[in-house]
């Protein structure tokens, strides 16, 4: 069936809620209206307010109570309306959710999947556009996922819900409706921790995810016109990252360009470059390059200058290839 990313996520939630009555959805406006982006649309009608819960406007409360629900044995899927709003819950995620299993010697676990739309390009401005993935990748105990297309979105969300560990599931809202594709009906998973080579090439490895994957693909097509054949990898799971896929590709190309929306400094690209250096150093033919958001807050009027769009990625690919 042809679905966009929102519909695919909705399909996954519906499927899993039917399959597993421990699964509950909670968050701001997720109930009757189905969330501001409509990802939970129709769930309230089908499953009722006992399992699709509109909460008070408190991210800390949403995640804190979700942790309690998970301790009790439910599988809560809280939605944070925008990733920009996740910081009030940061303490609960970092100090409580991520550490529950470890601090209890493996006796307690809090299985929570936190969904949050990320990224810019929707004229959302400073507080509706951020990409905070690195802040969670840095925290021991969390898994971080970011699909780019409907097929992966459904399969990754189902895998995330069934995974025993807490997952931050970041949804690229810029392509919520633009990314359309064939989505299998029924149950399937896209395993966590597996990247996808979405474009094969020989000259440069481009690592991207979420909405920026499309910019990376467009850039790769442009670069091909200049004779540079980029291999584009959609990481899909950001952490634990599929280091084998990355290293295999870099061994082939000797070159790597990382693309992400978040600010450059200490962004996930920094870790990816470090991993490439550690594990593929002797294969490198050029310094790894990063095409990222700038180290500024996310701008409203200038968001298209801030985002690492194809026009910024192309020169990085070509220069890295020709270094």
């Amino acid at each position: 069936m042809q679905l966009n990313l929102v519909q695919a996520l909705n399909d996954a939630l519906r499927l899993e809620m039917r399959r597993d009555d421990r699964v509950v959805v909670l968050g701001e406006d997720v109930g009757k209206v189905g969330g501001v982006f409509r990802v939970t649309q129709g769930l309230w009608d089908e499953f009722g307010e006992g399992r699709v819960v509109d909460t008070p406007l408190s991210e800390g409360g949403i995640v804190g109570t979700a942790i309690g629900m998970a301790l009790y044995g439910l599988v809560p899927i809280p939605e944070i309306q925008f990733a920009d709003f996740i910081y009030p819950a940061y303490d609960q995620i970092v100090s409580e959710l991520a550490k529950m299993r470890w601090r209890s010697g493996g006796e307690y676990a809090a299985k929570v999947v936190i969904r949050a739309p990320v990224g810019g390009g929707i004229r959302g401005g400073l507080y509706h556009s951020q990409s905070p993935e690195a802040l969670f990748i840095h925290v021991a105990g969390l898994k971080v996922v970011c699909p780019s297309n409907p097929h992966d979105a459904k399969g990754l969300l189902l895998a995330s819900i069934r995974d025993p560990d807490p997952v931050l599931f970041f949804e690229p809202k810029r392509v919520y409706r633009a990314a359309k594709g064939d989505v299998p009906e029924g149950d399937y998973v896209v395993p966590l921790g597996k990247a996808a080579v979405v474009r094969e090439g020989t000259d440069v490895t481009v690592l991207a995810w979420g909405a920026m994957l499309y910019e990376a693909m467009a850039a790769a097509e442009e670069a091909a016109k200049e004779g540079v054949h980029a291999e584009v990898i959609d990481l899909r799971t950001l952490w634990p990252v599929d280091i084998d896929a990355i290293v295999d590709s870099v061994k082939k190309t000797g070159r790597v360009v990382v693309v992400h929306e978040a600010p450059k400094t200490c962004g996930f690209g920094a870790e990816l470059v470090a991993l490439v250096n550690e594990k593929a150093f002797v294969h490198l033919e050029a310094p790894p390059a990063r095409v990222c958001g700038f180290d500024t807050p996310f701008p409203y009027a200038l968001e298209m200058d801030y985002l690492p769009l194809a026009r910024r990625i192309v020169p990085a690919i070509v220069e890295t290839a020709r270094f």
Partner: protein, 337 residues
Amino acid sequence: MKTLAPPLAVLRDDGSLDPANAPPLSEELAIALYEHMVLARALDARVVGLQREGAVTQHASALGEEATIVGAVAAMKDEDWVFPSSREAAAALWRGMPLSAYANHAFGTSRDAGKGRVAPDPPFWKEARVASVSQLVGTQISHAVGVAWAARMRSEDVAALVYFGEGATSSGDFHAGLNFAGVTRAPVVFVCRNNGWATSLPASRQTASAGFAVKAVAYGLRGMAVDGGDVVAVLAAVGEARRRAAAGEGGTLVEAIVGDAAGRGSEAADPIPRMRRHLQARGLWSAERERDLNADVSADVGAAIAEAEGAAPPARATMFDDVYAVVPRHLAEQRDA
């Protein structure tokens, strides 16, 4: 300290109970409450000593707050969850955690259920739903609400008890937790130990409101104050809160006024002699029995500490376990490097 209503008190100075407020109190329960308070104090005193020796690095003493801790957990049903804060080891002991489990936890040995990962306080005891909590102030409040809410969603008669000091009422998590509890009617009992001080700060600097129980009102919860040195009053207050929660009437914030906050002399406020007088008044206690209890408690605590002191520390490799359900590659590389 002003409150909405005078704190609930049941134990009179002569050991009798105020019949207007007295809950049913069997001989066995009365004795058990007393013995656990004595045990809690002996353990606490010993760990205070160990901390001063440097053998354990952190310990928050519950001296004088034993009645609040033991009375509250005793009022809950066995299937209920208990979320301690930093001083409620006695709640886990009440729920059956062996002294040796506490001691191994305090020393962070390889026999610790938590694998020596968290500093001494507070212990968890999964068998009896005593939750693992962090050492951050107030974060466990919304967890307790979540558990209670989940039970309500599942229509199961399970409630949650959460302890915290009055300092935690200043945290965002207190607000979020009580607000969610009010909205969801979750069956949860909040026990705020008000000993008048949060570290260096007097209660008057935590809040300008008339005590802490009054805060419940704004969340649509019931609030009440209780004499926290009166184990029977705590038992009565929390028991009533538990009953109301089960009846779908929502959560209750119980402010237990203890120590300095109680405005009584330390001897008069000390919950242990107060409860002993009650046992004596009921003819349930003797000097001989007191001597035996003290001897037993001392021996048990000593044996547990000795056992833990001799236990090996956790193996290095265990550090990498339980970060995730399955050790992922990057951690295995770090472990095996």
